[in-house]
Subunit: 428 residues, 2 copies
């Protein structure tokens, strides 16, 4: 979200007409229904590659500007496009085009005693708004997923990627037009004014769904501002609980994987809970392994007592509640499964939770009683992912309970309607 | 929503602790999971009947007060309870108790190449907030549906039914306790201060779902205020389109049923669209029949020209957009199916739409192109209803696209989680 705008941006702001954009998006969404969307996506992918020069030039300007402004290297890297990244984006679009069409599936159907035949069919949402941060690949990924699901995409990226996003959207629209699809099915809210985000999120009846993608701050802002339906994605304060009877080697492998394989993502573990019976013979070695992987450790008193020579800081209340998103882990020794469950109830964010155990009873209780999108037995929390789940795509991981929970693929990006066939039935 | 409070109510306001209420509701929701909820509901129903005297006495006071305050007779009637109505409410609870449990169903399951077994199971939402207007039967109906779906219900009715609601909730809690269920699974926001509604609707993480039930004003207020997930119910600007080739008698029967059988509900028709070829021989007779049923008519110019002696007012733009919820109908002659579809796209509220036709092509186009929760061919719009659909219950008719669209029964009052079983899998 921009805190200030350049004169160039201000000039742009006065020109962008959100109402007109949404009217065009609605019209395009209607036309999409009967279109060959897979062909449109393949054309879109080809045009991204064909238009690489213009896209990379726009991106280069932006990257230079950010470097000169002293933006952190990691952020600049996220903004940066090159030929390989652009090709990977186009390939991802082709992969989405090859997925089964989520629209037009019959979810259920039955005949009523009065002879009415009822069918529930999947249909597109219509107009989907995506609000996200600076990675330009989200621009293409989000648009392609919305289009594959039959909806028009209205995209709002961050101001520091505006030129890259403009170039990408221009190419995507050209690609759609070449395949005979309505180019207004992909539009950019080309205006850094934050008021446009608010207007977009409050366009009731004109935006059917808003999906935020980005950090916790962005997601909170969207959820609090929106008056259109939102799917909340993201925050994961995930736990691995190692039960007394766990296979020691498996437990260590899972804990290490859940924490260090990719610590910056929402399905990485943030807290390790260990049963007090296993801890004396297992914890020190595991902490040592985590330490060797560069993990900073915060432990309860009992953890500190069992840590041996491994450096562990005393955990505060805040540590249990923190999503580190980094090589950092909170560790707590618990007396039993109940204490582990209480901890997860209290601090978990409902994303992904795992137990390592040989016990059917413990596994069953954990899976039944933990209220989260994904509850694992003897596997890493890192598997909560649309691709890992076999969906072939992922628009995000929903942490809310409405509509979709957990990884969202194309099948979750549609709604449904009932179609009812009668021969003159009226209500008595 | 109350615009002013009595001193008694203000005293109450200072006592009610919403935070404590929601903590108790969460705890109760966890306990509900393992409880025999059907037995709890049967006990709740029995206690409502056993406690009839206290409930009716509380209601009587309120009815007298409203009468003395000059409240409209229809509104007083909606507030009024008697033995028959109370018995009907208890019977409705028993019917809900007899429905199949929506919790614990396996929606889908598969095994991944790495051996992980994934199952998606239905689970309760947790804490469901109901915000509604003065009919006290909603208090019982909403609580019973939430409980049957495994969730705790936090109820917020209107101030003028506060005493009735208090008495009903007291009886329901007693009924739950008698069956060994947590009484905090049903709680009343016993405080007419409007700030409590706002706090309830913004209790992110503590309220899993809010459902408004009532008029358009209430629903709008809830949707605009809420920061917790909401299911929007209600508004229906429904159309019946009579195609050129319609069976004349069937079309008349459907139009009459859709308008007059119960005009005050959301699935009643508000606009009749007639193909220009059929109109000369069909419209006058239909208008006459509607007129005889007391329907006030608003027509386009062409309708006026075909109305004969039937009184029809010239329709304004507002008529096309109005949900009359009364014996009142807008009528428009259209040149073809396209014009009818355009009209529905422009003015429809996405609730229920019907076409009367003999043509497979016209029926198919209408069902494909109309974006509404329920699209009927040769049947009355009045069938959009959880009971008519065979759900055995109805918490409302969703007009949004997220989560549930159309009639919502118990099956729509649950969420899901993924449970994943592995034998040590980690991500590579």
């Amino acid at each position: 979200m921009p805190s200030q705008t350049t004169p160039e941006q201000q000039q742009q702001a006065s020109r962008f007409d959100l109402d007109a954009c949404l009217v065009r998006a609605r019209r395009a969404a209607r036309a999409l229904a009967a279109a060959d969307r897979a062909a449109g996506l393949r054309s879109l992918a080809a045009t991204l590659e064909a238009d690489a020069e213009a896209i990379l030039a726009a991106n280069r300007d932006e990257v230079v500007r950010e470097r000169e402004a002293g933006t952190a290297a990691a952020l600049v890297d996220r903004l940066t496009l090159d030929e390989d990244r652009l090709r990977a984006m186009a390939d991802a679009v082709r992969a989405i085009a090859a997925l089964p069409d989520p629209v037009g599936r019959v979810l259920q159907g039955w005949t009523l005693p009065n002879g009415l035949r009822v069918q529930q069919r999947t249909v597109p949402f219509g107009v989907v708004a995506m609000v996200y941060e600076s990675r330009p690949n989200v621009t293409v990924d989000a648009a392609a997923l919305a289009l594959a699901a039959g909806s028009a995409a209205v995209l709002r990226g961050s101001a520091n990627a505006l030129r890259s996003n403009r170039a990408l959207v221009r190419a995507m629209r050209m690609g759609l037009a070449r395949a005979g699809l309505p180019e207004d099915a992909v539009q950019l809210v080309d205006d850094p004014d934050r008021a446009q985000v608010t207007a977009l999120l409050q366009a009731r009846g004109r935006v059917d769904l808003a999906i935020p993608r980005g950090g916790a701050g962005l997601i909170q802002h969207v959820v609090r501002t929106a008056q259109v339906p939102v799917i909340e994605t993201g925050v994961g304060n995930c736990h691995v609980y190692v039960h007394a009877d766990a296979d020691a080697e498996m437990a260590r492998r899972i804990v290490l994987n859940a924490k260090v394989q990719r610590p910056g993502v929402c399905n990485a573990a943030e807290t390790l809970l260990v049963h007090a019976e296993l801890a004396p013979c297992w914890l020190a070695g595991t902490l040592q392994a985590l330490h060797e992987h560069g993990v900073r450790l915060h432990g309860c008193e009992r953890t500190l007592g069992l840590a041996g020579t491994v450096p562990v800081e005393l955990a505060s209340e805040a540590d249990w509640a923190t999503e580190y998103l980094d090589l950092e882990l909170a560790v707590r020794v618990v007396d039993d499964l109940d204490e582990a469950l209480e901890h997860v109830v209290r601090y978990g964010s409902g994303h992904s939770e795992a137990i390592v155990t040989r016990s059917r009873t413990a596994a069953r209780r954990f899976q039944d009683e933990v209220d989260a999108a994904a509850v694992f037995v003897n596997a890493s929390t890192r598997f909560t992912d649309g691709f890992e789940f076999g969906f072939g795509a992922e628009i995000g991981i929903s942490t809310q309970k409405l509509h979709a929970r957990g990884p969202m693929g194309l099948a979750q990006l549609v709604t449904s309607k009932y179609v009812i066939d009668g021969d003159g039935q009226v209500r008595g």
